[in-house]
């Protein structure tokens, strides 16, 4: 994999802190993510990675610090409008709409980016997105389930639908929240292979929060390790694996 060319970072987190009462869940965290990178964000339970993720996604308001997407501040941007800024995301909990078909799920993920109240009511039912949705469904090899209700799929397949939905709006960066959680090994290998392929073909940047070390180590180009709300290590997977601080805080713990 080629090293990313330094340019304006796709995601820039600056001095971000989040305090809950007396507890500092995230403490003065700064990092940049450049185009085409796959950044892993790891750390033991309670290290603050989910809090950090939620602050980046606008679902929690940071106590201090801020975040930029391609140079634009996300201050005061609603979670719903982040996707307009080119941010896609997958969810830790299942996020598909169980009684809608896979095709409808994926179309929905892209359809609200344009249109007026009238085109929403009387315009084309698929907003012209059927072909694009089918391509993504094919990319994740879900074509046999195109017209299946998403709730009838296996957990791993639903995770793939979730991933397809995250790419529907053509994001610059996709934040994946524990994509490997609860997914069996075969499906996991498939998911990883698809994500890497997508990254290579489209240059889309990923930030991945994950517990599954093997998955993170083999997927990511760079890894940031959090412990007690602070960055304790940052580097290539092989360096992280050998870092005594990390072994102490996480791998050995």
């Amino acid at each position: 994999m080629t090293a990313p060319i330094p340019s304006a970072p796709v995601l820039s987190v600056r001095a971000m802190s989040k305090q809950f009462g007396g507890i500092r869940a995230v403490n003065n965290v700064s990092f940049d993510v450049h185009k085409g990178e796959i950044l892993g964000l790891i750390g033991p339970n309670g290290s603050g990675k989910s809090t950090l993720f939620n602050c980046i996604l606008g679902q929690l308001r940071p106590t201090s610090g801020h975040c930029e997407i391609a140079g634009r501040s996300t201050d005061g941007v609603r979670p719903a409008d982040l996707s307009l800024m080119g941010v896609g995301r997958t969810f830790q909990q299942l996020s598909v709409f169980p009684r809608m078909t896979v095709l409808d799920n994926v179309i929905l993920a892209g359809q609200e980016h344009e249109g007026t109240i009238l085109t929403r009511l009387f315009g084309r039912p698929d907003a012209g997105l059927t072909d694009k949705a089918k391509q993504l469904i094919e990319f994740f090899r879900l074509t046999p389930y195109l017209q299946t209700e998403a709730g009838a799929l296996s957990y791993g397949q639903q995770k793939l639908v979730d991933a397809a939905m995250a790419f529907m709006a053509g994001p610059q960066i996709v934040l994946l929240d524990e994509p490997a959680g609860g997914v069996n090994l075969t499906m996991l290998a498939h998911l990883k292979e698809r994500l890497v392929t997508y990254n290579r073909e489209h240059g889309t940047t990923f930030v991945v929060i994950e517990h599954n070390m093997e998955f993170v180590m083999s997927l990511c180009t760079r890894i940031i390790v959090l412990a007690q709300g602070e960055i304790i290590a940052e580097g290539r997977p092989e360096d992280i694996r050998a870092n005594p601080l990390v072994i102490d805080a996480y791998l050995g713990g």
């Binding site: 969810f91 709409f97 169980p98 929905l108 009511l121």
Partner: protein, 292 residues
């Protein structure tokens, strides 16, 4: 046989009107966890809006129906959502249920106070003719009621499955948090649901009042029947509410003729008990977990 066909058909006609109320009931539940125990009064009230248009304002029937539709959208749609559901919902489902029971009483007593306690004749929408088909007497009104109800429910189903807005409404009902993140205007979708419920109630009211006359207490039975129909069919499915409504209409008619007229209103309750015991998710419903 001719009599049986007659009974089934008029049962379907009545049942299709129950289905309108039941469909609205399930939509509100799905979109906003509102169990609307004033649903019967929602069907009772628009008939009085029509009567006010005709007797007080001197309008014709159809302009009065249009007026009733507008008033229903405002009162039973917008005001119900803004003044009852939104303030109560943060306190939980049960307080909201109790608020809708209070609202039902308020609507009922207001109509009694301001319009009258006696049953009011309501102009028929369809010709009062009865056709003889293969020995069975078939009322034009039954056919008309069945057709209009089916068109309304079919149209709603098409709207929900074949438009962008419909897809957003489904998404809002199934997973509002994620729908919002995907850019769906969840608040607007919930408002649409309340407006659709008000419109369905208006249609049901205009169809059923020529048969039962317009009376302040009509909502008592209608609300109960709509509730039972929704549970019997399955609370999370439009087609469930449709099947539940039709089934109750038919069972009601059959039991009145073949079992006992005295016990006819007990039959839907027996059906309700049987369904809750043996198939709690309803005939067509799917069981669902809801985290709160």
């Amino acid at each position: 046989m001719a009599e049986f066909i007659q009974i089934i058909l008029s049962g379907l006609a009545a049942g299709s009107i129950y289905a309108l109320a039941a469909v609205g009931f399930t939509l509100l539940w799905q979109a906003s966890q509102t169990i609307n125990f004033a649903q019967g009064e929602f069907v009772m009230l628009p008939a009085f809006f029509v009567l006010v248009g005709m007797t007080v304002l001197g309008l014709g029937l159809w302009p009065s129906v249009a007026l009733a539709l507008v008033l229903s959208l405002l009162v039973l749609g917008v005001m119900f959502k803004k003044l009852v559901v939104e303030p109560m919902l943060p306190h939980g489902t049960l307080p909201l249920v109790i608020a809708t029971i209070a609202l039902g009483l308020l609507l009922k007593e207001s109509v009694k106070e301001f319009y009258g306690a006696t049953a009011q004749p309501f102009p028929p929408i369809f010709p009062q003719e009865v056709y003889q088909v293969a020995g069975a007497s078939i009322a034009a009104q039954d056919i008309g009621n069945l057709a209009v109800s089916m068109l309304a429910i079919g149209g709603l189903q098409l709207f929900l499955t074949r438009t962008r807005t419909g897809r957003c409404m489904q998404a809002t009902a199934q997973n509002p948090a994620v729908a919002e993140i995907l850019g769906v205007n969840v608040k607007r979708m919930v408002m649409y649901t309340f407006l659709i419920n008000a419109a369905l109630a208006t249609v049901a009211s205009v169809l059923i009042s020529p048969i039962y006359l317009a009376k302040f207490s009509n909502g008592e039975t209608l609300g109960l029947v709509a509730f039972i129909a929704a549970i019997v069919g399955g609370f999370n499915q439009i087609r469930g509410a449709l099947v539940g409504g039709l089934l109750i209409g038919v069972i009601d008619n059959i039991s009145a003729v073949y079992i006992s007229a005295q016990y006819r209103s007990a039959m839907p309750l027996l059906l309700l008990i049987a369904i809750i015991l043996f198939r709690p998710q309803g005939l067509l419903g799917t069981s669902e977990g809801r985290s709160v």
